[in-house]
Amino acid sequence: MLERRLALDLHELRGAGAAMLAAGAVLPLLPGHPGIACPLRRATGVPCPLCGMTTSVEATLRLHVHAALAANPAGAAAVLVALALLVVRPRRLHVPFAVLPAALAAMWLFELHRYSFL
């Protein structure tokens, strides 16, 4: 399990990254500034690991670093990774599988603390 690597398709990740950057740039310009509401938080009040990502990505793209980190630090990291994938265009990326649950757990702890559950 620890030695297993994520099956990352860099072409797919570039596409997803480009879509994320485009959404982060365009959403604040739309009437009413639509966001992506978290179904878990809307239904239960409890945030999920990805809560704050839209806010964080939008803030990062406008260089509002403090606001980005306060919403979800992973948003700023996601923007940097997306830009690196699009600009540097690495051929391969080896990420151990354990990084995924560890990152999600860290993000969830952050959001639970942010919403005063911890």
Binding site: A7, P39, A43, L50
Partner: protein
């Protein structure tokens, strides 16, 4: 990196198809809820979603209007071919699970060996390009 067992639809194709279907069903739901106030309107909108996804994704083509527009289809991972209406309906409800943690279940395909979302895993399906798995007739 582990390769999927066959050609798969890309994230952007699936995102585009989901947006088209979401907009279409959103318009239908808005009309129903405006025309028929209260719970009945919402239940009718839910029924439309169940029939739309269950019949079209479970049918022979495995294509909703969005998937047809993007040239992709739902396919049975184990046996190939259509997943059937009952698993199409199961897949529709499993989308809720995929959506609950800020749509993490949808993003799962980005690092999954078979490029499956959570609702794909629950329904035993994959989404494939029509260029590799042609559709004989739509909706089939």
């Amino acid at each position: 990196m582990a390769e999927p067992s066959g050609p798969r639809a890309t994230f952007l194709q699936r995102l585009g198809a989901a947006l088209i279907d979401g907009i279409l069903l959103g318009i239908v739901a808005a009309i129903l809820e405006a025309a028929i106030n209260g719970t009945v309107g919402s239940l009718l909108a839910l029924a439309v979603g169940i029939v739309y996804y269950g019949r079209l994704e479970g049918g022979a083509s495995g294509q909703t209007l969005g998937k047809r527009a993007l040239g992709i289809r739902v396919y049975d991972l184990a046996s190939g071919g259509p997943i059937g209406t009952s698993r199409g309906i199961l897949r529709y409800f499993a989308r809720i699970l995929s959506a609950i943690p800020c749509f993490l279940g949808y993003f799962w395909m980005l690092w999954d060996d078979e490029k499956q979302t959570w609702h794909d895993k629950i329904a035993g399906s994959v989404v494939v390009p029509v260029s590799a798995y042609p559709v004989a007739n739509w909706p089939g």
